[in-house]
Assembly symmetry: none
Homo-oligomer: 226 residues x 2
DNA sequence: AAGTGGTCTAGACCACTCG
DNA sequence: GAGTGGTCTAGACCACTTG
């Protein structure tokens, strides 16, 4: 952050470049939960942009839920941010599908385990490999509807690609913009496949996911509400 | 909107006064779903504010989920409210999982097809067997986030069982009440399994699912909003 | 008093959509 | 080409918080 890191020739907006810089500092732990991020004035001076642009960067952090602002005090790294990271770690296919909504659920357990042989088989894991274990109650209008136990391998990947013409139009992004492709098949207990889903996600809305899919470690051991 | 309605002496921000005016017009039906709200330029002229202030009013509408903006086209009233009405028609295994939330999505296609060989393989279907094909756009805050294509075999079954003591307590139902068990594994495109989920659903809240899984016909050919 | 975020202005250039 | 939203500037005044 000491040096100007902005590329003014780039098509990437300045506020977005600043946002990414700050996100990286937060992820890396350089700015911790509860601590202030640089103020609007400080950012505008350091980065050589107008205060409105610095402000837009900070507001975008707030909209992501990563930070919150307090009049007269500053802008601080949100505690909820970690929870959202989790949601995105856990999100993948499932949690991503409901983004923008507020699925109500309570986490009963969230830990890193060495899965049972049955689960390991299902996930094609060797006996030693670890997985996240997540046990949740899901609510519908405050009525508990479902108990869900999820296992996710610690190493997990999403497939990156570029948007086709049709995808670009539907998602209102430019053609050849980055997207993620997910494909999956859902099975019943008896092994019978019941659902085949292919999904295309906007790359610009899922960057955290792609990062987390590569490391995915920061989440272990916490028990947030999803 | 013809007259200046803003109170510049008020402590209420101008952008907020404009937002409230627009919200009232949307609620009253003066501006209907899918129709454009006044553009930034038009608002700034009519209301006698700078374009940035008009813009802030429109963005606040978007953040509320009431409207969405399209570059080069305009800002339009979101159909979020309408989408809720049709949600439950399509509650297969997936949709049920997000009950209690308000997943916004639009159905582009929903029909009964004879799937391609690739999909048939994934679902273990014989070449002649049919599947439902469901194509949707999913929204997050009125931003299209994902295109999703789902194939579901016409004959689909959920595994019925009775609730264990723990399940009964968590779901607040009586012991031995009917429940459904789902188990599934999610895969990436390369066939790598990334998620293993076992779920227990309340039987009394999932009748739609059980109905659809048995006949699966009532929904065929319809093109509702989910 | 100094620093912060909240609001606001009056311009500007751009990429995009559409007729 | 006209209209739209997206970004950006270089200022400004305000209310608020803290030392």
């Amino acid at each position: 952050m000491h040096r100007v890191v902005l590329d003014r020739q780039s098509a990437i907006p300045l506020y977005y470049q600043i946002q990414q810089t700050l996100l990286e500092q937060i992820r890396s732990g350089a700015i911790k939960v509860g601590q202030p991020v640089p103020s609007e004035q400080e950012l505008s001076q350091r980065m050589g942009v107008s205060r409105m642009t610095a402000r837009q960067a900070l507001k975008s952090l707030c909209h992501l839920g990563v930070a919150y602002s307090q009049r007269g005090k500053g802008t601080f790294v949100s505690r909820a941010k970690l929870e959202k990271d989790f949601r995105q770690v856990l999100s993948f296919s499932e949690e991503m599908r409901v983004r923008g909504s507020q699925p109500r659920s309570r986490v009963l357990a969230f830990k890193r385990i060495t899965p049972s042989s049955g689960v390991a088989d299902a996930l094609h894991l060797s006996p030693k490999e670890q997985a996240f274990f997540l046990k949740r109650i899901r609510f519908a209008d405050s009525v508990p509807l479902c108990i869900e136990c999820t296992h996710i391998p610690v190493h997990e990947v999403a497939e990156a690609a570029v948007a086709s013409a049709e995808e670009a139009k539907l998602l209102r992004i430019r053609k050849k913009a980055p997207v993620f492709h997910f494909t999956r098949t859902a099975f019943l207990a008896d092994g019978k496949p019941i659902e085949f889903v292919s999904s295309t996600y906007r790359g610009d809305r899922c960057k955290v996911v792609s990062r987390l899919t590569r490391s995915g470690k920061s989440a272990a051991g916490k028990v947030p509400h999803a």
